[in-house]
């Protein structure tokens, strides 16, 4: 089945095709493909062997773009952002803008000697920290992220808590991300958040602010897993069956712009990995950022977009419908 055509047809059926951006409220900057981990669900296929990273010139262009008054959030991701040699400078410059700045960290890296200082730098800059903790089950998380990673994340979360992250009144936000460890969709974000809160508090004394449930995209290593395990067709069927037209209005790409390590612009992180360039006459590089054009660009959609519209919807900020 052609899932790309099928997704376009679904949008047509709810009068949302072509799909257009409504604004650029979040600039998501993928500053490096390098990572200390090689997680099995990683759609950008980050690993210690990757070398791509954003140049200083393009990071400056990101900061200039993020200064636009309509942009509310600078989202820093990778790879492991900590491995980028200019992250400290980038964070400090970003903090001067007095906007919401968040860093997506695998947390395990914060225990490595050369990156431990980020625990304090994050707290000093006031950046929100978003940590991927796919499952409360030790074995499941380690199967997805690597041996002993669960334990390292727990220790790192404790370190972040001790600096005020996730604690009431501190102003330091610590959010967690849940991903299915296999070929199924996440359950209720509300139910999972309650379970995470109760068990992390009871078993480890850990506090956090919010849990985001993310649907895994059939892209990158996760696509390899689906193919290798014979789950690909069934997973796409599941995504398609779970299509929720009510989620279309708030899909992430309508308010987010994604920047690749080479400075090129995409509708989302997933289009970035699939090298699906922006359509039409919009600027294609962060150095040519033009808010007016980019904020009403036509979104490039394909079969993987079903992941954002399944069930309650999915985004880098969790479900679309609460």
């Amino acid at each position: 089945m052609d899932f790309s055509q099928s997704f376009a047809d679904q949008l047509k059926a709810c009068s949302e095709y072509p799909l257009y951006a409504q604004a650029v409220e979040t600039l998501q900057t993928n500053i490096t493909r390098r990572c200390n981990l090689s997680c099995r669900h990683c759609h950008v296929e980050a690993s210690p062997a990757r070398t791509e990273e954003m140049s200083r010139q393009d990071m400056e262009a990101c900061l200039r773009a993020a200064a636009h008054p309509e942009i509310k959030t600078l989202d820093i991701t990778g790879g492991a952002p900590e491995t980028h040699p200019r992250l400290v400078w980038f964070l400090r410059e970003a903090a001067l803008m007095k906007k919401r700045v968040l860093v997506r960290s695998n947390a395990a890296i914060l225990l490595e000697k050369q990156y431990q200082h980020f625990l304090d730098i994050y707290a000093e800059s006031g950046a929100e920290v978003v940590v991927s903790l796919p499952n409360l089950n030790h074995d499941r998380t380690d199967r997805m992220r690597g041996p002993d990673v669960f334990g390292k994340i727990i220790v790192a979360l404790g370190e972040l808590n001790s600096r005020g992250y996730g604690k009431k009144g501190s102003g330091l936000v610590l959010d967690l991300v849940h991903n299915p460890v296999g070929a199924y969709l996440p359950g209720s974000q509300e139910v999972l958040e309650r379970e995470y809160r109760n068990r992390l508090r009871r078993d480890f004394g850990i506090e956090f602010n919010r849990l985001y449930c993310l649907i895994n995209f059939p892209v990158g290593r996760y696509l390899d897993f689906l193919r290798g395990s014979g789950n690909l067709e069934e997973y796409f069927r599941l995504l398609k069956e779970s299509f929720n037209s009510a989620a279309v209005g708030s899909v992430m790409c309508r308010t987010t712009l994604s920047v690749a390590p080479d400075g090129r612009l995409f509708d989302c992180d997933f289009n970035q990995v699939l090298d699906l360039s922006l359509s039409g006459q919009t600027p294609v590089h962060i150095r040519d950022f033009d808010y007016a054009k980019l904020s009403r660009r036509q979104i490039v959609v394909r079969g993987h977009c079903y992941s954002c519209t399944a069930g309650a919807g999915s985004s880098c900020q969790g479900v679309l419908q609460k």
């Binding site: 089950n137 199924y184 209720s188 999972l192 379970e195």
Partner: protein, 111 residues
């Protein structure tokens, strides 16, 4: 017509079981939704009960549906297996409890 009695894709037909009897079908789904949604018991606890019943009742559709439901709610494999053991123990206990009938008859009949 398919040659198989049970097919995976039949699970997708579950929402259509009200066909030919819409009123009863609607009443069933209202009841089903109400019973399996969170109440005094959490959605997680109810998913585990449903999984145990599904295995006891040997329903391949329900086992598929509720294994996935448990996975989606982060239920551990060990927790799922514990729930199934409750079902298995209940079946064993239920079987052995019926030995009472056999024992009563034997005692009544034997010299």
């Amino acid at each position: 017509m398919s040659q198989l009695y049970y097919e995976t894709k039949d699970l997708q037909d579950f929402s259509n079981i009200g066909e030919f009897a819409h009123e009863q079908g609607k009443k069933f789904f209202d009841y089903y939704t109400s019973s399996t949604s969170s109440g005094k018991l959490t959605e997680r606890e109810k998913a585990l009960i449903a999984l145990a019943v599904a295995t006891v009742r040997h329903c391949p559709y329900c086992i598929d549906a509720y294994t996935n439901k448990c996975l989606s709610l982060g239920v551990g494999n060990d927790e799922m297996m514990e729930a199934i053991h409750v079902g298995a123990a209940m079946v064993a206990g239920d079987t052995l409890a019926h030995a009472t009938q056999m024992r009563k008859i034997v005692k009544q009949k034997e010299m």
